[in-house]
Symmetry: D2
Subunit: 117 residues, 4 copies
C-alpha cells in the first residue's frame, strides 16, 4: 500500500476543483462515510462467513471499490478535522494492548478483535 | 501520515497473538466497521455543521480515536480480502473524474463530494 | 398508522412464500437493516438541517420508501428474535425518563433526544 | 404488538417536555437512527448466524432495547417528515412483489429478503 499523504493531497484537489469543500463539514462527511459502509454491508449480508472469504474476482473488485469509498471519506473527514488517522490508530492499539493482554483474551470470541470501543 | 503497510503488519500481529483471525471473516469485519462508524456518528448527530467544524481538543481526540477504530477495521477487512485499499481509491477517483467533470458539477450540492456511489 | 401485527404477518408470508426464512438469521437481518439505514442517510448527507425539513414531494416519497425498508427489516428482526419492539420501546422510554428528568435536561443539546444509548 | 400511534404520541410528548424538537431535524434523526443500528450490529458481529438465533435471555433483552432505540428514532423521523411508515411499508411490499415474483426467486440467496433496495 502507498502512503496516505498522496491520496489525501489528491482528494483535497478533487474537492477544491469542484468547489465542494463548503459541503464537507465533519458532520456531513461522517454521514457520507456511514452511507458507503452501508453499501459495503449489502455485499455481505446474505453470504455465509465462508462465502465472504471466497469472493469471485468480479465481486471482489466491487467490494474493493466500496472499501475505496469508505477510505476516501475517512481521509476527507480526518483532513477536515485536522487529525492524523494513522497516528490515532497507533494510540488506539496501545490502549487496546492494555485492555486485552494476550494471555487473558486468547481465542476469546467475546473480544474477537475489539481493537475498537 | 505514515504508511498503511506498517499499520497493516502491526494489526495482523495483534490479531494472531490473540488467535482472533478465526473471527475476522470479511462479513464480520464489515459489521465491526459499521459498528464503529455508528459510534463516530453519535459524536456529530446533535451538532450543527458549524459546531462539527469547531470541536474542543478533548472532543477532537475522542473523535480521532473513533476514526482510528474505523481505519483499523477497514485495514483488517482489506487485508483479509487481499485488496489494496489505496490502489482501489485511485481507481475510484479515476472513475469519478469521468462521472463528475469539473465544469459540470462545480459547487453543485447534489453532487457534493460524490466520490462514492 | 396501522398496527404492526398485520405488517408482521404479511412479512412472514412474503418470506415463507419465497423460502427466504433460511437466510433471515438475526445476524443477517441486522446487516440488512444497517444497509437500508445507509441508503436513508445518503438522502440527507449533503442537505442542511433546514433543507431536510423541507423536502419536495418526490424526495419525501423516496425517503418514505427507504424508511419503509428500515421498518420492514426491523420488524423481521424482532420477529426472528421473538421480541415485541413496541413493548421494548415503552421499557426503554421508562428507563430514559429516569435518566433524563425534564427539569434537568430541558433544551440541552448534549442530550437532545437521547432516548437511546 | 401494539399500535404505533400511541407510541408516536408518547414520543412527541417526551421530546416537547424536554424542548428537544428543535434538535430533531430529519437529518439529525437519520444520524441518531444509524448510531443505534451500529450498537445493534455490535451485539451480532462476532456471533455465528446460529449463535445469533439462540441468544440468552439477558442478551435478548439487551438486543430488544437496542431494537427499541432504532424503532423510537424511526418513528420520530417519520413523524417529523410527516410520513406514515406502515403505509409506506405496504407500498414497498407491493413494489417488491412485482420485482421478486415467487416462482422466480424461490430460495435464491442472492435475493434473500430483498424487500429493500
Amino acid at each position: 500500500m502507498d502512503s496516505l499523504d498522496d491520496l489525501n493531497t489528491r482528494l483535497i484537489r478533487f474537492a477544491r476543483e469542484r468547489d465542494w469543500e463548503q459541503f464537507h463539514s465533519p458532520k456531513n462527511l461522517s454521514m457520507a462515510l456511514a452511507g458507503e459502509v452501508g453499501e459495503l454491508l449489502e455485499h455481505f449480508q446474505w453470504l455465509t462467513e465462508a462465502q465472504s472469504r471466497d469472493l469471485t474476482p468480479e465481486k471482489k473488485e466491487q467490494v474493493a471499490l466500496e472499501l475505496a469509498d469508505c477510505l476516501i471519506y475517512l481521509i476527507r473527514l480526518a483532513e477536515r478535522l485536522g487529525v492524523d488517522p494513522i497516528a490515532a490508530a497507533y494510540r488506539k492499539i496501545a490502549i487496546n494492548e492494555g485492555r486485552y493482554p494476550v494471555e487473558r483474551v486468547r481465542g476469546d470470541a467475546r473480544r474477537a478483535g475489539e481493537y475498537g470501543d
